[in-house]
């Protein structure tokens, strides 16, 4: 029970394979209480396997895992009292209504009948499901069902939540609603482990990101740490014609990292957005070169992800 270092989730040396197929090949990480860690990776990277092991559904081959100080193997029942699981691998009962689902799961979490009912009412309201509360959940839309699914895992207010791809397959509006709910959850001090294949999601929500691919961690850090690994900000200028491009190249010299003669664009890396952009503009205006448009590109987590996993972007978007 004593949680010395306020580490909510501690994983070391986690390995899992199915026969010859090595799904996880030695993973270590920690999640501090009240923070969110995102496990980011393409399909088949081992994210769901990791979540299933952490939530006691699956036994690891090797490794020590403790959740709120409890060992997942020897104290599984204690672990189950402090976690909530939702997303890909969890589900709701389709023939029961939203309210019945919530109360049933609350009772199975060992809540008293009265508490389960009150808490169900509260969650239905918070998750905007009050109108649909007494309809069988099979009549719900995808977004509603996902909200109910998350609500169910929050019925006993567990301090640690596993969100396994909570927004996969949702339309943009439902995704935003889900993000909103997750942010509120974070604000309430819940420790969250999120898996996702959307970089935007990890970028927006998580304190700490781990990129996994092929069953191992290939990068970790905050979103900005990861981005700085890929490169600096980039300034892209569109000029009047190819002649202007040629003279710009001459003036700016080796700051230029690329140019396109057909589109009449040049790009440069910049270290300091205030100084460097000003200097470039001044140099060009001195030489009477007209700028048609300009843009500053910040490296995105997409760049990070692609440069780390080496996967094609279109492959990722299929999912």
């Amino acid at each position: 029970m004593v949680n010395k270092s306020n580490i909510a989730i501690k994983v070391s040396g986690l390995k899992k394979s199915y026969g010859k197929n090595k799904v996880l090949t030695g993973i270590d990480f920690e999640v501090k209480q009240g923070t969110m860690l995102a496990l980011l990776g393409p399909n088949g990277a081992g994210k769901t396997t990791a979540v299933r092991i952490l939530s006691t559904l699956l036994k690891p081959d090797e490794g020590d895992i403790s959740i709120a100080g409890y060992d997942v193997l020897t104290q599984a029942d204690c672990v189950r009292r402090v976690i909530g699981l939702t997303g890909q691998s969890a589900a709701v009962d389709e023939l029961l209504t939203g309210r019945e689902n919530l109360v049933m799961m609350g009772r199975l979490y060992r809540l008293t009948k009265k508490s389960a009912k009150l808490r169900a009412d509260e969650l239905l309201k918070d998750f905007d499901l009050t109108d649909a509360a007494d309809r069988p959940s099979k009549t719900y839309s995808g977004g509603m069902r996902r909200r109910l699914d998350l609500a169910v895992s929050l019925i006993a207010i567990p301090p640690i939540i596993f969100l396994d791809e909570p927004t996969t397959g949702l339309d943009p509006r439902s995704r935003l609603a889900m993000w909103d709910i997750i942010e509120k959850l974070m604000a309430s001090g819940t420790t969250i482990l999120l898996t996702t294949q959307y970089l935007e999601e990890a970028d927006k929500l998580a304190d700490q990101i781990i990129v996994i691919d092929g069953g191992k961690i290939i990068a970790e850090g905050t979103a900005s740490q990861l981005k700085s690994k890929v490169g600096k900000d980039r300034l892209e200028l569109t000029l009047k014609d190819s002649q202007a491009v040629a003279s710009a190249k001459k003036i700016l010299g080796k700051a230029i990292i690329g140019s396109d003669d057909e589109e009449n664009t040049v790009s440069l890396t910049i270290n300091d957005i205030n100084k460097d952009v000003k200097n470039v503009l001044e140099a060009l205006s001195k030489a009477n070169i007209t700028i048609v448009s300009m843009e500053v590109h910040k490296p995105t987590l997409d760049d990070v992800f692609l440069s780390l996993t080496g996967k094609q972007k279109n492959k990722k978007e299929e999912a």
């Binding site: 691998s89 589900a91 029961l96 199975l108 008293t112």
Partner: protein, 269 residues
């Protein structure tokens, strides 16, 4: 998060029973909400009873003991056949749960997981009772008459409930074992069809070929049918009463641990 949560602090054993009770309520709600299945449980027995009585009645009459009418003979057989087939719903429901991922949800909760199986098996008793009552009512309408006393009927109910319970547990193994609902359907069919047809459900066994007769007379379903039939017609029950109970208990003793073990193993893969 304004609600102050109170947790149950009852002993573990009581909470375990409570889990089963919650799961029984869940599965029973499924039965009552799944109108297609409920209509099946209602009309299929009527159809079977009326058709069998009308189609086979004339042909089989001659091989029945004197003074016994085919509908009266058939009643016990067709009830046992219906509950045997009815128990496959347990298998389908368990297979469905495993596929839809709700079992993962249950397993991530501090509950007794075997309650999931208990829920389906016990609620199956409910559906089978509905079917049996419908069949008896239909039988009475088309001319079935019984010499059984109230106490005989209580014995009949007891034997049938125990048999259904045991058979549902046997089918639970199939539900855990199968990879799809389609597989459940054919696997349970090849077990139940021979057991119900190579029995005394529809015809007396003495008209069967010798080897089939040996099988028919010694397999569990025949014991249950003969016991129920003897009680309904008020003929000597012989060994059938205790044999049917012994078979049901034997099936239970084997099926419950196997189903529970397989369920635990399958669910953690």
């Amino acid at each position: 998060m304004s609600v102050n949560l109170e947790f149950d602090t009852k002993p573990k054993a009581i909470q375990s029973i409570n889990d089963s009770w919650i799961m029984i309520k869940r599965s029973s709600t499924h039965i009552l909400r799944n109108t297609d299945q409920l209509l099946g449980a209602f009309f299929q027995p009527i159809m079977f009873l009326v058709l069998f009585a009308a189609v086979f009645g004339g042909a089989i009459k001659g091989s029945l003991p004197p003074g016994i009418n085919y509908l009266d003979f058939l009643m016990a057989g067709i009830i046992v056949q219906t509950v045997a087939f009815g128990s496959t719903t347990t298998a389908v429901a368990i297979c469905n749960d495993l596929q839809k991922g709700i079992v993962d949800r249950f397993r991530s909760l501090p509950m007794n997981n075997i309650a999931v199986l208990n829920g389906h098996v016990v609620s199956d008793l409910l559906r089978n009772t509905i079917s049996t009552v419908v069949m008896l009512m239909t039988g009475l309408v088309i001319g079935f008459r019984s010499n059984a006393t109230v106490i005989d009927w209580l014995f009949i109910a007891g034997i049938l409930l125990l048999f259904t319970f045991a058979f549902s547990w046997l089918m639970a193994i199939m539900g855990v074992f199968s990879k799809s609902v389609e597989a459940v359907q054919w696997m349970t069919f090849i077990i139940i069809f021979p057991l119900t047809f190579a029995s005394t459900a529809f015809v007396p066994s003495d008209s069967m070929p010798y080897y089939l007769q040996i099988f028919a007379e010694n397999q569990p379903i025949t014991q249950v049918i003969n016991a129920v039939r003897a009680l309904m017609l008020d003929t000597p029950i012989g060994n059938y009463g205790w044999l049917s109970v012994a078979w049901s208990l034997g099936i239970l003793a084997v099926s419950v641990p196997i189903a529970a073990y397989l369920f635990k193993r399958k669910a953690s893969n």
